[in-house]
């Protein structure tokens, strides 16, 4: 239905430009004759509406009004990729191997600018995982780690020991096919207790000085 409305609008505008060209090019008398003939055809020709005793006039007006409805109202929600547990597990394993590798390597570069190479890899791999297997429960933990690292470049603040334990926390979950919420909640809390700021988002508005 939405497409039809959009189509009407497009057809309507293209018709008018064709008519403009026609008016410019054609002789005025020929054009008048053409207009009269098409008008008479449309009134004389029996239509489905006429046969049924209905008037199409109201419908035409309604369709004209529909032309003014913006295209955005025909918006269809986009579905994210969904996989079964097996496929999700395979993709997770594939990306996580590189993720764990970077979590290990960053420990050797802490305090040096070269740590940025592995921090960037960790961040990009988690985002890649989010795009490929958005519904994987493992991502609850991975995204918490992402927020703790990516926010205001906090990755630079953490120590090698913290990355080491983060590695262990992720490693423990990576091989679990069917991860439960209680496992992800526990892992996120462990990351936080380790010092990772998994909820770094800030509100500066004073909400509490009124009462």
């Amino acid at each position: 239905m939405g497409t039809a409305r959009t189509g009407n609008s497009i057809n309507g505008s293209s018709h008018s430009s064709i008519n403009d060209d026609f008016e410019k090019k054609a002789d005025s008398s020929e054009y008048d004759q053409f207009k009269r003939s098409t008008a008479s055809e449309s009134t004389k020709e029996p239509t489905f509406f006429n046969e049924m005793g209905w008037s199409a006039t109201g419908l035409e007006e309604e369709l004209d009004e529909m032309d003014t409805i913006p295209v955005s109202q025909s918006f269809e929600p986009i579905a994210l990729p969904q996989h079964n547990v097996e496929a999700q597990f395979i993709i997770r394993k594939h990306i996580s191997d590189q993720l764990l590798d970077s979590l290990q390597k960053i420990q050797e570069h802490i305090g040096e600018p070269s740590a940025a190479i592995f921090a960037r890899k960790i961040i990009e791999l988690i985002l890649d995982m989010r795009d490929r297997i958005p519904f994987d429960p493992f991502l609850d933990v991975a995204m918490a780690l992402y927020d703790a690292l990516a926010y205001k470049n906090l990755w630079v603040k953490y120590t090698a020991d913290q990355y080491k334990v983060a590695y262990k926390i992720l490693y423990r979950l990576i091989n679990v096919k069917d991860i439960k919420d209680k496992n992800t909640d526990k892992a996120i809390l462990e990351l936080e207790e380790l010092g990772f700021n998994v909820l770094p988002f800030e509100v500066s508005i004073d909400l509490d000085s009124e009462t």
């Binding site: 955005s72 109202q73 986009i78 918490a144 770094p200 988002f201 009462t211």
Partner: protein
């Protein structure tokens, strides 16, 4: 020796989404002391924050909102209440960190899922990070509404949660606020007497309003204490139900007047702007 600290909702909010400077200040104050919250404080946090976050999820989920930029613009134009402005600030910060503020409909779909994840993370945080006082005299039914969110059914699960949380009629029928207030009647009368001695200023206004509402409940009967009325006397409920062996940590002026008559220790923390002025001095 460790000090047991009982957090009011205002301090809980600062710990979870205050500025980094404020969180650093609180960490410095609390050190390794055990931090407690009660079921009623959890409910207040959910009422003011979690329900509003789900509200943003629902706005973004509208078919007429094509992307996250539109949702943020819509929220900023329509909602001026400070709590809802705070949600705008927090969500903007969150979506920007995940590179999801854009005109893309695909990013909208990703943002919906990630906001859902964020809400779950906050809910797990208040459930697991803080110790429970173990005192739940009001037995608030809104706090007991189950929060079960399936990643594949977030939309309907959030709807179910909000509908149950907002069903104040059903929740009020299940709670125990009337018995609680009846048991605390003499303490409530003391608070009312104290409030009558004060003149209304910017600092006393909150406490006086609470005592006026407590007075109304005493005069009209405890059964008249609806969820909306309960919200107006929230600080008094928290103070009346606070463990006596803990120090109440708060930002609200009202606790300066609620705690002394109830013989409770109270630590009043500065507002965000007061703290920043202090730091910049």
């Amino acid at each position: 020796m460790q000090q047991k600290r009982f957090l009011d909702t205002s301090v809980l909010r600062k710990l979870l989404f205050g500025t980094q400077a404020y969180r650093d200040y609180l960490k410095d104050q609390f050190k390794d002391d055990p931090l407690f919250i009660s079921a009623y404080v959890k409910m207040e946090f959910k009422r003011s924050f979690i329900i509003s976050l789900i509200g943003f999820y629902n706005v973004l989920n509208m078919p007429s909102i094509e992307n996250t930029s539109d949702a943020l613009r819509f929220w900023s134009n329509e909602y001026r209440n400070p709590y809802l402005k705070a949600i705008h600030e927090l969500i903007s910060d969150f979506l920007a960190n995940q590179n999801l503020i854009s005109d893309s409909a695909f990013d909208k779909a990703k943002a919906l899922l990630e906001i859902g994840r964020l809400i779950k993370r906050y809910m797990a945080e208040i459930r697991m990070k803080f110790k429970d006082t173990g005192i739940d005299s009001t037995r608030c039914a809104r706090e007991q509404v189950p929060f079960k969110i399936d990643r594949y059914n977030m939309e309907s699960d959030f709807e179910k949660y909000v509908m149950q949380f907002k069903d104040v009629k059903a929740c009020r029928q299940k709670c125990n606020i009337h018995t609680f207030l009846d048991k605390k009647k003499s303490k409530i009368e003391t608070l009312i007497t104290e409030a009558q001695k004060l003149s209304k200023t910017r600092h006393t206004k909150g406490f006086i309003n609470i005592s006026e509402n407590l007075n109304k409940i005493l005069n009209e009967g405890y059964s008249k204490c609806t969820c909306s009325m309960c919200g107006k006397i929230g600080d008094a409920v928290i103070a009346l139900d606070a463990p006596t062996n803990m120090q109440i940590e708060s930002l609200d002026h009202s606790f300066d007047y609620l705690c002394p008559p109830l013989r409770l220790e109270n630590k009043k923390h500065p507002s965000e702007s007061q703290l920043h002025k202090k730091i910049n001095r």
